[in-house]
C-alpha cells in the first residue's frame, strides 16, 4: 500500500530532531503532549488537596470535614484522580508512543485539540456540579441515587473526547506504518500502549452504554433503570479502566527500565504474549465488583472474577519477572555480576526514574496485586466488600503503582518534550521514596482497618450520632492513624513532584536535552572482577528469580490466611 494512497499524508507536519535520541519529533504532537500532561498535573494537584482533606477526616482523631463536604469531596477526589489525572496523562502517553517514539506525525492535530477540549469541558463540568452540591453520588453514581444531569453529561463528554484521542492514536500508528516511519515490529513500549488503547476502546464504549441511559434517566426521559444492570455496565467501564492503567503502567515500566539502566526486553515473545493475555481476559474482571451482588450465580462470578483462569494475573506475573530481569541483565552486562544481588545494590538508586520504577513495581505487586487477587476471590470477597480493604488495594495499584510510574516518566519528559532543564534535582532524587513510603502506609492503614470491618466511604465509624451504638476496637484507631500519617507523607511527596515539575517548566533553562539520565552521570562501568562469574552464566537473571519466588511465598501466605479467616465465620450460603 503506497503512502500516497492515504489522504491524511497531505497534512504538513513540522519536525525537530531530538539531539539525545535522534527521534524526529512532530511539533504538533509535542504541543498536544504538553497540553495533556499539564492538564493531568493540574487535576493531580486538585485531587491531591482533596486527598489530604479526606484522609484527615478518616483519621478519626482529627475528623476534619463535616459529613456533606466529606461525601462531596470524596466524589470529586475519585473523579479528578481516577478519571482526569490518569486519563489525561495516558492520552499524553499515547501521543508520545504513537508519534514521537515511531518518528511519526500525529494525524489530524486539530481533532486532537477537539478531544482535549471535550475532556477539559467534561471534567470541569463534573467538578463544578459536584462542588455545587448537586451530585453527592460518588464517582460510581449507583442508580437510583440520582445526580444532576450535568454530572452524567460531563462524564459522557469526557469519554467522547478520550475515544476521539484513541482513534487518532490508532490512525497515527497505521499511517506511520504506511509512511514507513519505522521498520519492522512496533517497539514493546508502543505495543504495550496499543494494548492499553484497545482495552480503552471497549472500556469507553461500556462507559457510554452505562452513562448515556443514566443521563436520560436523570432528565426524566427514561422511567426505570435497573440498578443491577447499571452496576454490571458501570463496572464493565470502571474495571477495565483500571486495566488501561495497568497496561499503560507496564509499558512505562519497560520504558523507565530502558531509560535508567539501558535494559532491553529479554524475550519480546513472552512480554508480548503477556500483553495479549491482558487484552483477552482482563475485561472479565468487572465481576470483582459484583461478587456479593444479588443476581449472578456462582459459575458466572467465578469464571469472570478469575479472568477465565487468572490468565490476566499470569500476564502480570510475567511482567513482574520480565521487567526486573531485563534490568538485572543490563546491570550485569555493565559488570555487576557478583552473587545474586550485586546488580541491585549498585543500581542507580538516586535516579528518580529508577527508584520510581522499583517502588512502583514493589508496592503494585506486593500490596496491590496480592490484595487484589485475594479480595477478588469469590468467597473471600464477603470479608472485604465495601470495607477499607478496597481503597487499600487500589491506592497500592493505581496510586503507588501507576501514579508513581507516571511521575517517574514525567521527569524525563521535561528535557525531552518540554525541552527545559530539570530543576531541583536533589528533590527529584528523594521524591519517589517519600511518595512511595507515604502511599505504602496509606495502603497498609486502609487494609488493616478494612480487615477489622471498617467501611469505606463512611464519615463516622464511631457512630456517635447514630441511634444504635457500635464499638470499634482500639486497633482500628491505630490503623486509621497509620493512614493519616501516611497521607501526610504522601502529600508532601506529591507536592514535591508538582513543585519540581512547575519550577522546571516555568523557570528551567530552555535547552535541548543533553542525555537521558537526569541525576546520575553514567559512571564508567566497574572493572569486571575476576572472581565474578564470567560469560553467559553471569548474565542470567538469577537474582530476579529468587525475588519473584519470595514474592510468591508472601502471596501464598496472605491468600491462604484469608481462607483461614473465612473458615472461622458464620455459615452462609
Amino acid at each position: 500500500m503506497a503512502a500516497e494512497a492515504i489522504p491524511w499524508s497531505e497534512e504538513k507536519a513540522v519536525f525537530r530532531t531530538c539531539p539525545v535520541t535522534g527521534l524526529k519529533v512532530d511539533l504538533a504532537a509535542e504541543r498536544l503532549i504538553i497540553a495533556n500532561a499539564v492538564a493531568a498535573v493540574v487535576f493531580l494537584l486538585i485531587g491531591g488537596i482533596f486527598a489530604l482533606l479526606l484522609a484527615l477526616t478518616r483519621w478519626q482523631v482529627i475528623h476534619l470535614l463535616p459529613p456533606d463536604w466529606f461525601y462531596r469531596i470524596l466524589t470529586a477526589h475519585g473523579i479528578d484522580m481516577l478519571v482526569a489525572w490518569i486519563v489525561f496523562f495516558e492520552i499524553a502517553g499515547l501521543y508520545f508512543g504513537g508519534a514521537v517514539m515511531l518518528n511519526a506525525r500525529l494525524v489530524r492535530p486539530s481533532l486532537a485539540w477537539l478531544a482535549f477540549a471535550l475532556m477539559i469541558v467534561g471534567s470541569v463540568l463534573i467538578n463544578v456540579i459536584v462542588l455545587m452540591g448537586k451530585a453527592d453520588v460518588m464517582f460510581t453514581a449507583y442508580v437510583p441515587l440520582k445526580a444532576h444531569p450535568v454530572f452524567y453529561l460531563g462524564y459522557i463528554l469526557f469519554a467522547v473526547g478520550a475515544l476521539l484521542a484513541l482513534g487518532l492514536f490508532f490512525a497515527t500508528i497505521v499511517v506511520a506504518k504506511a509512511e514507513k516511519r519505522y521498520e519492522g515490529s512496533l517497539p514493546l513500549v508502543v505495543y504495550g500502549l496499543v494494548t492499553a488503547a484497545i482495552i480503552a476502546a471497549y472500556t469507553l464504549l461500556s462507559g457510554a452504554l452505562a452513562l448515556v441511559p443514566a443521563f436520560f434517566w436523570s432528565l426524566g426521559l427514561l422511567p426505570n433503570y435497573d440498578p443491577g444492570f447499571y452496576r454490571n455496565l458501570f463496572w464493565s467501564f470502571g474495571h477495565p479502566a483500571q486495566q488501561i492503567n495497568l497496561a499503560a503502567m507496564v509499558a512505562i515500566w519497560y520504558a523507565l527500565a530502558a531509560i535508567t539502566t539501558g535494559a532491553t526486553p529479554l524475550n519480546e515473545k513472552l512480554s508480548r504474549f503477556a500483553f495479549i493475555l491482558y487484552i483477552l481476559f482482563i475485561n472479565l474482571g468487572s465481576a470483582h465488583h459484583l461478587l456479593v451482588d444479588p443476581g449472578p450465580g456462582f459459575a458466572w462470578k467465578v469464571t469472570n472474577t478469575s479472568y477465565a483462569m487468572y490468565l490476566a494475573v499470569l500476564g502480570s506475573m510475567i511482567h513482574a519477572f520480565s521487567v526486573p530481569a531485563a534490568m538485572e541483565v543490563a546491570l550485569r552486562r555493565q559488570g555487576y555480576r557478583r552473587g545474586l544481588l550485586e546488580w541491585l545494590r549498585k543500581a542507580p538508586w538516586r535516579e528518580p526514574g529508577f527508584s520510581a520504577l522499583v517502588i512502583s513495581i514493589v508496592i503494585f505487586g506486593w500490596i496491590g496485586g496480592v490484595t487484589g487477587v485475594t479480595i477478588g476471590t469469590e468467597q473471600i470477597n464477603m470479608l472485604a466488600h465495601n470495607t477499607l480493604r478496597v481503597p487499600g488495594h487500589f491506592h497500592a495499584t493505581v496510586v503507588a503503582g501507576t501514579t508513581l510510574a507516571f511521575m517517574g516518566l514525567t521527569y524525563y519528559l521535561i528535557p525531552l518534550i518540554f525541552r527545559r532543564e530539570l530543576k531541583l534535582k536533589r528533590w527529584a532524587t528523594w521524591q519517589p521514596y517519600i511518595f512511595g513510603l507515604g502511599m505504602a502506609l496509606v495502603s497498609i492503614g486502609f487494609i488493616a482497618a478494612g480487615i477489622q470491618g471498617v467501611a469505606r466511604r463512611h464519615w463516622d465509624i464511631t457512630f456517635a450520632q447514630a441511634p444504635f451504638p457500635a464499638t470499634i476496637p482500639g486497633t482500628v484507631h491505630l490503623a486509621l492513624a497509620v493512614l493519616g500519617i501516611g497521607a501526610l507523607i504522601a502529600v508532601v511527596g506529591g507536592a514535591m513532584f508538582l513543585i519540581i515539575v512547575l519550577v522546571s517548566v516555568f523557570t528551567g533553562k530552555r535547552q535541548e536535552a543533553r542525555g537521558l539520565l537526569l541525576v546520575v552521570t553514567p559512571s564508567s562501568p566497574p572493572e569486571p572482577s575476576t572472581s565474578a562469574e564470567e560469560g553467559e552464566e553471569g548474565l542470567r537473571p538469577k537474582g530476579t528469580f529468587v525475588l519473584v519466588l519470595a514474592f510468591l511465598t508472601f502471596f501464598a501466605a496472605y491468600y491462604l490466611s484469608n481462607w483461614w479467616l473465612l473458615g472461622r465465620t458464620w455459615f452462609v450460603r
Binding site: 456533606d68 453520588v137 449507583y142 437510583p144 441515587l145 519505522y182 521498520e183 519492522g184 515490529s185 517497539p187 514493546l188 513500549v189 440498578p227 443491577g228 530502558a258 531509560i259 529479554l266 524475550n267 519480546e268 515473545k269 513472552l270 444479588p294 450465580g297 456462582f298 467465578v302 472474577t305 478469575s306 487468572y310 490468565l311 499470569l314 519477572f321 530481569a325 464477603m382 470479608l383 466488600h385 465495601n386 470495607t387 477489622q452 470491618g453 467501611a455 466511604r457 463512611h458 463516622d460 465509624i461 447514630a466 441511634p467 444504635f468 470499634i472 537473571p541 530476579t544 528469580f545 519473584v548 501464598a556 481462607w563 473465612l566 473458615g567 465465620t569 458464620w570 452462609v572 450460603r573
Partner: protein, 172 residues
C-alpha cells in the same frame, strides 16, 4: 524502547520457562480453590435472588413483623422469628426491623431495599453483601456465635449514610 530486531521470536530462557510454569500452576490453584470451597466450604456467597417490587417487599416485611414481633427498641420493632424465612428491609437510613436469631439455627434471611442501594454489613463479624432495590437477596445464614452485633450500611446511600446502623441479636 526501540523497535526490536526483525526476528524476536526466540525460545525462552530456562529461568523464564521455570517462572512461567510456576506462575501458571499458581493460577490454576487460585482458580481451583473457588470450586473446591464451593463444595467443601461452609461459607459461600448466596446465589438465590428473586425479583420483587418495593411495595410488595414492604408488605411482606409488615406481615412478618406482625407475626413475630416481641418488642420495640428506639421505635424499631424487634422480631424473634423461628428458623426459616426472615425479612429485613433497607431504606434511607434505617434497617427494619431488628432481628433476634438463635445460635446454631439456619435462617433464610431476605434483604432488599425500597429506595436506593445499601450495603449489608454485620460487624464486628465482618460479613458483607449488597442490597439493591427490586432484588430480594436470600442469604442462608447460620450464626455460630451469640451476642449483639452491629448491622452497618457500607454502601454510600446519601447524606446520613453514616447514621444507618442497627443491631442483630443472636441468643444462645
Amino acid at each position: 524502547m526501540l523497535a526490536p530486531p526483525r526476528i524476536w521470536w526466540k525460545p525462552l530462557d530456562r529461568l523464564e520457562r521455570s517462572w512461567l510454569t510456576i506462575a501458571f500452576v499458581w493460577c490454576i490453584f487460585l482458580t481451583a480453590m473457588m470450586p473446591i470451597w464451593f463444595f467443601l466450604g461452609r461459607q459461600n456467597v448466596p446465589a438465590t435472588t428473586y425479583r420483587v417490587s418495593p411495595e410488595e417487599y414492604q408488605q411482606r416485611v409488615a406481615d412478618f413483623i406482625e407475626q413475630y414481633q416481641v418488642g420495640t427498641e428506639k421505635g424499631v420493632p424487634v422480631v424473634a422469628p423461628p428458623p426459616g424465612d426472615v425479612f429485613l428491609l433497607a431504606r434511607q437510613w434505617q434497617w427494619y426491623p431488628i432481628l433476634q436469631l438463635k445460635k446454631g439455627q439456619t435462617y433464610r434471611l431476605h434483604v432488599s431495599s425500597i429506595d436506593i442501594q445499601h450495603g449489608f454489613s454485620i460487624q464486628p463479624l465482618n460479613l458483607n453483601f449488597m442490597v439493591l432495590p427490586g432484588y430480594d437477596y436470600v442469604i442462608t445464614l447460620t450464626p455460630t456465635q451469640s451476642g449483639e452485633f452491629s448491622l452497618v450500611c457500607n454502601e454510600y446511600c446519601g447524606i446520613a449514610h453514616h447514621l444507618m446502623v442497627s443491631k442483630l441479636i443472636v441468643t444462645d
